[in-house]
Symmetry: C2
Subunit: 878 residues, 2 copies
């Protein structure tokens, strides 16, 4: 019985076989195939790793034989053999999964050395010190990585040797010293593990392969996979490759390079090298490497060869490559090539340049830019060098990207006051609508509580403003005007710096770099509309936000939150008057004061958006959010309103809710107080009628929030339609409009077929849907979500990236039921997930019509939507 092919000699694979051979192995085969000088070797496939675990950590039958065969082939090819006393074969063993994955086993170099072959190496190189040093390094690496002996013990032995020789550097140790050290190391291994360092190279190899497999499932690797949503069953390959040495004298060397500049994307060869050194020396930073251009002087032939390889690789891979090479006694070897990591600016430069040179097509260019990267270009960033040197105070959630520095203030009034003469950071336990003015003038916002969809996070993203939310280590003492992290107190007026892209918080000032206009980005973004299928709308509440959104290419407004308008200027007074009204008549009077204000808001937003659809959500939050909470404020407001303190306080108390998220809000308000919905519908339609008269073709969409029962939408739709009819009559104008609903309580998904009979569109409110499907309060989950993610219970924050397995299924059900009963039902999402690429991909896949994101996320969303369309189209072809 012949077993399956487990082992691939370099050249038997190709770059498309990443899944089977890992990234490294596939590329080594590919380079071999296209004739580049790769030291021969072979790859044990990822399937073997999986089998190894399936078999209870044992090798599958036949693997032994296949390795032996490939070893023979290697020995023949190199005209060398293991343990040869003159010309011994030495190999490296490296792990290599399909996706790059830190946390797995480090490299083992110089495998094959033992007491016999070390002499062969010395003979071959004519360099005793080199030989013993190579052996010493191997035993140390093997003991540490393969046999799990404490790393520190080897270091101590090395130090002892240096002390006894009264030298400072490893390089000052003689061949004899190193030879003695090999013995010391072997004793350490014996002592620690009760078994000897294996002299047999085949035994060394077997143990190293096991160690690679073992490292696949260590805790760090598991955690990394959880964090990055990498499946646990894809396994790692093992690469066994002939050693070449860059440290065999002045005709040897080693280097790393990028085929282009990874910071700017400029089309120049970019890298560095060291003569007479091994790879680790370049990385270690003990010697300063030379820029790659210098090689042209030092080794013109090899430089030319390298330039040639650079061109070949770019031509072949059609992308920037990150390569490693070694020159052994004048001969150039390629050890690795992989796609080069790059900055956002470089990524755009490279993509656009490659399209201009017909190197890649636009589709490919689009898929090359990680959407999140655009944040780097759209928002302020901390100066990288300064940040690297700074000491982080604590960390919260990266709630809204960008960077900000300013002096600390603890309430909205102080923010407004201090911002007149300087930059401020607003620090709150959690924000509420009362804080909006303060948020608007602050450079950035920091909260101690709340998640990725907390009030602070949502509003800040809408404003395109840096925000770190839910920094749970922070305790805010607003009345005493300081906040505390462990034993540190930060007072009002102290400077702090926030990184909203990472959630980091620093004491003091770190310089901030402004975003620049990036022409490449404009070019790339001009292509995306040709590919994306999803519409991209914006969540915008003001004419200004709407303009920003349009400028970023939004195709409409997917969510206009009317309540955000209520906090500006004197409006809040009318709102409060409405809330404390004791009967419908008083309430209607207060609402009449609001009507012209709301109408003007809508008029201006419609005017900016012209013929694009604008979805307006009726009043959603519980009414108590509009009332003051502190006695001082209550006193003041009671006076303003001509009420007694006791009366206002008792009204506030009676509106208090245990769980406001599950309380009297959304359409429940309009059911109880239909006059609120009537006023809002009237404001919307009067604005629409006025603009229609001016020749605009406005497209208002009235959205009823939090519907969970058929009758809710039925009753409110009838009311809205009747207001529209009235206004059309009064103003003698016809205009288009739609009435639809948010789908945000799980029950709505279950009865979506019924709801669709009354709704012309659905907009999934994924924030609330996530809250209710999980039973996670977005304001409180900061207490346990970090634990959940750390323990791998959740792969990621479901408020940031849609939970496809759970919430996503509800959305799918809602969509299918809805479309089943109304074929042309327009369906989108308007939760914060609308700006998250992974979530957008899901929305594309299930066939939504649009997603809606905060204005500054619109470019990210557009790019992600184009990628989803391109990638899914490609994968269907396969």
């Amino acid at each position: 019985m012949t077993s399956k092919k487990y082992v691939y000699f370099f050249g038997e694979g190709k770059k498309e076989m990443k899944k089977l051979l890992g990234g490294k192995g596939a590329n080594l085969s590919e380079m071999t195939n296209i004739g580049l000088p790769v030291p021969p070797g072979f790859t044990i496939s990822t399937e073997v790793c999986n089998l190894y675990y399936d078999l209870g950590e044992r090798w599958p039958e036949g693997l032994d034989d296949q390795i032996e065969e490939n070893l023979k082939k290697l020995e023949e090819k190199m005209q060398m053999s293991f343990s040869d006393k003159d010309n011994p074969l030495l190999v490296s063993v490296r792990s290599g999964a399909a996706v790059s994955m830190p946390g797995m086993m480090d490299t083992v170099l110089n495998l094959g050395l033992n007491d016999t072959s070390v002499r062969g190496l010395i003979v071959k190189t004519g360099n005793e010190r080199f030989g013993w040093d190579a052996y010493r390094r191997f035993v140390q690496m093997f003991g540490d990585v393969v046999m799990s002996v404490e790393h520190d013990r080897f270091e101590k032995a090395l130090q002892a040797k240096k002390d006894s020789r009264e030298v400072k550097f490893d390089t000052e140790l003689s061949g004899q010293d190193l030879k003695e050290l090999v013995e010391d190391y072997k004793n350490i291994i014996k002592d620690a593990k009760g078994k000897s360092f294996p002299e047999d190279p085949r035994e060394q190899l077997r143990m190293s392969i096991d160690a690679v497999f073992g490292s696949w499932d260590n805790k760090r690797a598991q955690a990394y996979r959880n964090l990055h949503d990498i499946p646990h069953n894809i396994g790692t390959a093992v690469n066994v490759q002939t050693m070449v040495f860059g440290n065999m004298g002045q005709t040897s060397g080693t280097g790393v390079a990028f085929t282009r500049d990874p910071s700017t994307g400029e089309n120049v060869f970019y890298g560095e090298y060291l003569i007479n050194a091994q790879g680790e020396d370049v990385v270690a930073g003990t010697r300063t490497p030379q820029p790659i251009a210098k090689l042209e002087e030092e080794m013109p032939e090899n430089y030319e060869l390298l330039m040639d390889i650079r061109n070949k690789l770019e031509d072949h891979y059609r992308d920037i490559q990150d390569i490693e090479f070694t020159i052994q006694e004048g001969k150039l070897y390629m050890l690795q090539t992989r796609t080069g990591k790059r900055t956002a600016a470089a990524a755009l430069q490279i993509a656009v340049d490659m399209v201009n040179n017909d190197f890649i097509d636009k589709k490919t260019a689009i898929t090359r830019i990680e959407p999140q990267m655009l944040d780097q270009l759209l928002h302020k960033q901390l100066d990288k060098d300064a940040k690297d040197k700074a000491q982080m105070l604590t960390k919260g959630l990266p709630a809204s990207p960008g960077a900000a520095l300013g002096t600390v203030v603890f309430n909205a009034d102080d923010a407004v006051e201090e911002a007149k003469s300087g930059k401020v950071i607003l620090v709150r336990t959690e924000t509420s609508p009362e804080d909006i003015q303060g948020m608007a003038v602050a450079q950035g916002i920091l909260t101690a509580r709340g998640g990725m969809t907390s009030h602070a996070a949502v509003v800040a993203r809408g404003m395109g403003k840096c925000c770190v939310a839910g920094a749970e280590e922070i305790k805010v003492f607003e009345n005493k005007q300081y906040f505390q992290v462990k034993d540190k107190q930060i007072k009002k007026g102290d400077w702090i710096t926030l990184d909203g892209s990472t959630g980091e918080i620093f004491i003091g000032k770190i310089p901030v770099v402004d975003p620049e206009v990036n022409e490449n980005m404009e070019t790339l973004m001009s292509w995306v509309n040709d590919y994306k299928k999803l519409g991209i709308r914006a969540n915008a509440d003001t004419p200004n936000d709407s303009q920003v959104a349009r400028d970023f290419g939004a195709e409409g407004i997917g969510l206009c939150r009317t309540e955000h308008m209520f906090f500006e200027g004197d409006r809040i007074k009318s709102i409060r008057k409405m809330i404390v009204s004791s009967n419908e008549k008083e309430r209607r009077e207060a609402l009449m004061e609001l009507l012209p204000i709301q109408r003007k808001d809508f008029y201006e937003i419609f005017k900016v958006m012209k013929d694009l659809p604008v979805t307006i959500r009726l009043l959603d939050p519980p009414l108590h959010e509009f009332l003051p909470t502190e006695d001082d404020d209550i006193e003041e407001i009671a006076k303003e309103m001509g009420m007694s303190f006791d009366d206002l306080k008792s009204t506030i108390i009676s509106l208090h809710e245990m769980n406001p998220m599950l309380g009297h809000r959304g359409c429940r308000l309009s059911i109880t107080y239909p006059e609120i919905a009537e006023m809002q519908a009237r404001a919307i339609f009067e604005a629409a009628a006025d603009l229609t008269k001016e020749g605009y073709d406005v497209q208002p969409e009235v959205m009823v929030p939090l519907v969970g029962s058929l009758m809710e939408i039925k009753i409110l739709r009838e009311k809205i339609v009747s207001v529209a009819d009235e206004v059309m009559g009064e103003k003698d104008q016809k205009f288009n409009y739609k009435v639809g609903t948010m789908i945000e309580v799980p029950r709505a998904c279950l009865i979506a077929d019924k709801i669709a009979k009354e709704a012309e569109f659905f907009s999934f409110g994924t924030n609330d849907l996530t809250q209710m499907a999980y039973g996670f309060s977005r304001d409180d989950s900061g207490k346990f979500l970090p634990d959940y993610i750390e323990q791998g219970i959740l792969g990621r924050d479901p408020f940031a990236t849609l939970d496809i397995g759970g919430v996503g299924q509800l959305i799918k059900m809602g969509l299918e039921k809805g479309r089943a009963s109304r074929k042309d039902l327009k369906v989108g999402i308007c939760g914060e997930h609308g700006g998250d690429p992974k979530s957008i991909d899901f929305c594309h896949e299930i066939g939504l019509d649009y997603v809606s994101a905060s204005p500054y996320r619109v470019p990210v969303a557009r790019l992600a939507a184009a990628q989803a369309a391109i990638i899914r189209e490609e994968s269907e072809k396969e």
Copy 2:
């Protein structure tokens, strides 16, 4: 083309045709068929009503002809005809749906009278006054009910006539007066409607039929159907029946009767009658009717005939009948028979008696008792007469049945103090676990907030104690020791009375009637186990509750809430110590204090339950529920615990949550603090091991609450199993146990297949599932749920009766997915719906293994489960 049969002459139908002919029509046909003296007539089927609406309020083709045919038949049979000047045919027109439904059209009597036929009636009866009075009544009824003329206008004209004649009673008006009144009435109609009263009897009939159809869809009828979950498309039938008159002198009369005593169920003929009267006179109460037995003296032949009919009807219907009869000039006519309404005691007496006499079988007997009725027998009730006379103060939700009176107290301490010397009612805005001691000593509990599953409601039901919750009109001022309803203040020490079965609240004392041991109930309950398929468990937290549950026939404990145990005596101190611990070590120490206490709790519960399963839920509520909220208490407790006030206060503040229902609770606590789950598992298993040693065969089931992700149950199951292994080893005892989960967040239903891999049982926590599926906080929904139910948006409170269309679908999905991945998965529900008959029927239908209800609901649940099984089995046979 012959049309469908729309009209059925009495005798063409039968009692099984209720759906088509309505209850009244079917029974009139049935009585005709079995030879009882029914005045002839015909029924227009319910289908016609539906067609009428489908056709835009028009008659279907052919209906006219069929009515005409049946009219002819009637005229022939009666030897009378419409508008006959000697012997005119007069008919009544009545609505009659398949289910009794108040709110629809009242009866129209004497139809057929006009200026011609009134003379015929006078000739025939020889009584001019009688003739004109009949005509006068008809015109008034017709004007009011059919032509919608304001009722008051007729009353005014009548009064004017009496005033002009200077008489007080209608009966004092002469024939001439009444004749004039007919003219006045006709003028009123003409004036109000612009058209004349129709003289043509066929026109009168057509209009009356239309009016019946129209009344099907009036607001009152719609609301009634919404409230009682009656479909809107079943329609009403119309019955047209020859008039007979009980007011044609001393040989005439009319009466109503029950075939048995509807209060006690005693097998005696029970009813009353009036000589020379029409039906409405018996009801009106202007003359005092005679007991039916008196008829034996006054009209022995008719009495004998009636007794005969009574026996025939009972023999035929096999149930107590509620009949109406009229005697016209010595001849007895049956006008109606229907199933008689009866008290709980009567229902049981009748059912048991009929089984004993082989009148019905046990299955039938079981289906005859409305499960909710058992509450009347298990709990105290208000004295009915006294209650009828009392003035209701306000109304809340009927949160826990029974009745209670006592003096008002506003906190638990006062309750404990005052209860030593008298009866108290605990009045709170809402209760929390801190109030449990006070609730235990109170006669009843009244809260201003919270729904049917609020803390107060759940705990009170568990205690079998009367509770009215969510009485939103009440404002409680605890610090000032009074509560207010509108302008009434009720102070500490004032007496109030609660009716927990209706939610009514009264000022002062209303006598309360104790429940009696009911032997019939015991007999009936001894039959149910033979039929029910569902297991019935109890939600019980103490040995005492467990004993009550067992005595009521519970087959296990479905939910033992460990946290309820934490408030007794000094335990709360250890809990608080645990919560304020700043590290794991301190927390473990505090937990060690709790271990022996919890172990003892479980030991005693297991001992009561013997070999029945006991499902214990791990700690569920957010920790802050165990901490004090008032500064005074914080001060005191800080002192007790040796902490500073500031430290304790800041711990409490840091534990505060915006939406605790969606916060850090359930298994999230055990994930963050695994030592809590470990301690609880240890307490459970040590108790199990100790009892195993004593020879018991205990069946503990450890239930992990609020699971929403696979990893939560996986991690906690492993922990629980490892504790079980440890305890088995330490105690050298093997015992059975299961590990399962509550399914209460919607996401758990969506991934139930995965969860079932790790869980041996599911228990649907329908309270939380309802909260999250609807997004209704059980504590806050009192603000809008009443509005929702009143407006017909919701048919009923989803916290009281399972929302089958939404939440039910989640349960079904969870069940199916769960059983698909684990065949023998045990599935039950333990929300408050476990005691609700409609919900129990659904649980039976979808195939759950058991429901769990509060101990005092166990008999209700057992009966409902038996009914579900019997009724569904019957309907499958059909």
